[in-house]
């Protein structure tokens, strides 16, 4: 059934197999991918390539990421023109603090591509200690 508005698949996109399934069924115009949800940079980058080959566009971004995950998605998104403008990795707009030494400022709606090296982020050990919680052992 065709609707007039482009449809994006998000929760249904997990691994490459699920992505191929969506493509085979012509089920979406856009797919949402996240470095976290897709199991890392390499898996996600390859899925973006598959999506592009299928003529489908991509949205990137987990909405509640801390500084490391957010930077990961920014850097990944930068590597493909097939990723639509309007990254959704806007955790720094919502979190009151961060566990990296320099909290990203995306309050103007855009940033210049960060230069790294690596992700270009450093953990703030004091903040990690401040916000740390322990997982209770399973009963």
């Amino acid at each position: 059934m065709r609707v007039g508005v482009p449809v994006m698949a998000d929760e249904s996109v997990l691994d490459h197999a699920s992505l191929i399934n969506i493509i085979r069924h012509d089920a979406a115009d856009i797919v949402k991918v996240k470095v976290m949800k897709q199991g890392g940079f390499l898996n996600t980058r390859r899925m973006i390539a598959t999506v592009e080959a299928a003529g489908i566009r991509c949205v990137v971004g987990h909405g509640f990421g801390l500084g490391v995950n957010t930077m990961a998605e920014i850097m990944l998104a930068a590597t493909s023109k097939n990723v639509i403008d309007g990254l959704e990795c806007v955790g720094p707009l919502k979190t009151s603090d961060d566990i990296v030494t320099h909290k990203l400022d995306i309050s103007s709606g855009r940033i210049a591509l960060p230069g790294g090296p690596g992700l270009g982020v450093t953990l703030d050990d004091a903040k990690i200690a401040q916000y740390r919680f322990e997982v209770k052992a399973a009963a």
């Binding site: 976290m36 990961a72 930068a78 590597t79 979190t95 997982v135």
Partner: protein, 195 residues
């Protein structure tokens, strides 16, 4: 180069205000942070922020899997051979992509660091010099949604994602009000999650 140490931290960072989507409302973000240290002091960091209702595993499950299984399984591996790391962690447990991502992210960060390049160069190179972000509007009454969206627009945002899934008429009213307020030169994306 070999991985010598994998630290796994659970952190709970308060959010500014409360955020409502079709699953739930939250005011704190619980996340996992991973730091890998390898031969010679090379360091890489990874981080995941599972969302209740959306993510397949809870943060507690992710942290448990990381601490018990995934982190120990990569000690001694070469972090700069990410394929080999994935060969170890992927079959270690079914699913748990979020937890696996935290380890892989740290290995890629480390690998790019030792090569002296940003991660985007490690992945093949950047095709964009500037990144634009979507504003995020939760399940709010129309007038509040309009107020928030106009605030983002005035700060420079050119697009917003509006959460829906709280009732079809309320969703329609929210989106209609925002569109009327922002005009045609602003992209709107709506997100029902699976609600």
């Amino acid at each position: 180069m070999k991985i010598e140490r994998v630290e796994v931290f659970g952190v709970a960072v308060p959010l500014i205000g409360e955020y409502k989507n079709a699953y739930k409302s939250k005011s704190i973000q619980k996340s996992a942070v991973v730091r890998i240290t390898a031969t010679g002091g090379a360091v890489g960091v990874g981080n995941i922020d599972p969302s209740p209702g959306y993510s397949k595993e809870t943060i507690e499950q992710c942290l448990d899997m990381l601490e018990r299984k995934l982190a120990p399984s990569v000690i001694g591996l070469d972090p700069t051979n990410v394929h080999r790391v994935l060969e170890t962690i992927n079959p270690a447990v079914e699913g748990f992509y979020d937890a696996k991502a935290a380890i892989e992210m740290a290995c890629v960060d480390l690998s790019a660091h030792v090569s002296g390049v940003p991660v985007h160069a490690y992945l093949g190179g950047a095709e964009k010099d500037e990144l634009l972000f979507n504003a995020w509007i939760g399940i709010l009454p129309p007038d509040e949604a309009v107020k928030e969206t106009m605030g983002w627009k005035s700060r420079g945002f050119r697009s917003a994602k509006i959460k829906v899934g709280g009732g079809i008429e309320a969703d329609r009213d929210r989106v209609k009000a925002v569109r009327a307020a922002v005009g045609p030169d602003f992209n709107i994306r709506i997100d029902a999650n699976a609600g």
